[in-house]
Symmetry: C2
């Protein structure tokens, strides 16, 4: 057996990140160093316990290497610098609290490492491209029902369906960005992930997902309502669908064309008794920071630049900033 071809550093071992490290390892093409923070000591002793619709039961599973910090990931056991081919970021997107550029800088080799963002939101690639203008950047829009039970159990109930594609930029030939993204998608397919699709315009997929994340997530959070409650209360008609159109118009003005029919499909596909509580609501209820800036803040900045009117979205953003203020009153400083 040939040794894995690619050095991969994977940061963020929640439900999404841990399944990603399984897929990449199983592909036989990637040697995964996973950065765990709070879970490091437990998982390095016991490994993960995985129950996965895609990968079955795995007991005591570990990737090639576990480390407790990105700094530790930067060098191998002999203290030699590792030149990573891919750095896969699966953390929450909190640009105001812990910018991804700060987080990953120890493991980035300029002109070499491809940054893969398996994260929510809009505009998340901009800071990376600015900081490392010769590196490839790609992202994934992932629909995976996966969650962690403390201390080391990962339960993946929904199949890992994702779209992946490069973020083209001036510092790199599009062909090179494409090649690196295709190689990563190939690993994903080899690793047995359910459905991984390479797309040329990943922005369209990101904006499509924002139609959901920017509306159900934010309205459920602000109102402390589950999806069904938003629907039964007519909040879907008064707030959610109009807000989807605001997002649609920003995307459209930015040149990303989403079929209009997606809006009614997305707004009406779940039953009225659906008790799903989106992640932003769970964050709020648990006093954790929300992904507000990449879900609403960045799209609103773009809307302003493009002159798109966003009355509901802008107001929801401001109210969720007050929720964030409340959370900040309770969270202890680092």
């Amino acid at each position: 057996m040939t040794p894995p071809k690619y050095q991969i550093c994977l940061i963020g071992s929640g439900g999404v990140g841990t399944i990603a490290s399984i897929v990449l390892t199983k592909s036989g093409l990637g040697r995964v160093t996973a950065v765990l923070r709070s879970k490091y000591s437990y998982v390095s002793q016991h490994g993960w316990q995985i129950e996965s619709i895609d990968h079955g039961k795995l007991l005591g599973w570990k990737p090639y290497r576990l480390v407790s910090s990105v700094n530790d990931a930067a060098t191998d056991e002999n203290g030699e610098q590792i030149e990573y081919d891919y750095v896969v970021v699966c953390t929450k997107q909190l640009p105001n609290k812990s910018p991804v550029t700060d987080m990953i800088s120890p493991v980035i080799t300029p002109s070499k490492t491809t940054v893969v963002m398996i994260q929510n939101g809009i505009g998340i690639e901009n800071d990376i491209i600015k900081m490392w203008p010769k590196n490839a950047v790609m992202s994934s829009v992932s629909h995976i029902g996966s969650s962690i039970k403390e201390p080391n159990v990962v339960i993946q109930m929904g199949k890992d369906v994702s779209k992946m594609g490069p973020h083209f930029h001036d510092g790199l030939d599009d062909s090179e960005s494409t090649e690196k993204a295709r190689a990563f998608v190939n690993m994903y397919v080899m690793g047995g992930s359910s459905v991984t699709e390479f797309v040329d315009d990943i922005q369209v997929a990101r904006w499509e997902k924002l139609l959901w994340n920017g509306t159900f997530n934010t309205i459920c959070a602000l109102m402390r309502m589950d999806v069904g409650e938003v629907q039964r209360s007519k909040g879907r008609e008064t707030l959610l669908v109009p807000m989807m159109w605001e997002i649609w118009r920003i995307a459209s003005s930015a040149g990303h064309h989403i079929p209009e029919s997606i809006i009614s499909w997305m707004a009406y596909r779940l039953p009225d008794d659906c008790d799903y509580r989106p992640s932003m609501l769970l964050d709020l209820e648990n006093g954790r920071h929300m992904e507000l800036e990449v879900i609403l803040g960045n799209p609103l900045k773009l809307a302003k630049e493009l002159g798109v009117d966003t009355p509901i979205m802008a107001t929801v953003y401001k109210f969720l900033k007050l929720e964030e203020w409340k959370i900040d009153q309770k969270v202890l400083p680092d």
Copy 2:
């Protein structure tokens, strides 16, 4: 001593209404029949216990007559119809739940009874004028720190400062509307109320109060924040002051000129550690219906007619409608 000149029916015996019935009784000019619903049996036995900054301590106080329904108020002890000079409405304004016109119709004598609304909100007089086009209508904008402790204690900590004035309409000479309003204000002054001012344009006073009620009340309610929290979180700058300007622009377009300086005075007069919880927040926390339609709903209808842009206000209204939906899920049907 001459008997009281005016027959008065007073509906709604919360903190505001009970103090009003004391003032009108003390004036010597009014014979007050007070309608109590839930409190009738206790108060008719024990009277009220009053601690008032304006009227001192009163034990076992009662107005001329107590009744348990508006129907009972319509006739005297001998079953004779009473032709009231004034019907004073001090209830919460819930046009969708219990319209004032339905509530007061048994005690209105067409072309005679003046309707006095000591209530919050905008547009509250319209239905009354439509229903009784030859009757005078007036309203009061009251600033009184008065509250009820169950079962019969009324504590008035803040002085009763109010502006009162007629709502002119086509069915009645302005001079007659003015005369009836002045006579009522005169009773208030005779009754020892702190500061009662007759104003020609009561709408200006109502819109001025709405600058507060429409913003602090609604934002505190939606965010479950006290006044100081809204200020410290910068919600005052991002949401509250812009919303005040939306209200100011509706008032201005409707011909009610409020000095612009009132906005910064009103937004910045309370200290940042103020823990005041406005009534709408208390309603929400206690699962009671809010005065949403007269505080935001009617002003928004007017804004639409006048073509005034109200992005924040309209969004806040829609979110509070969802809160109302939640309340309706818990309140038992009548």
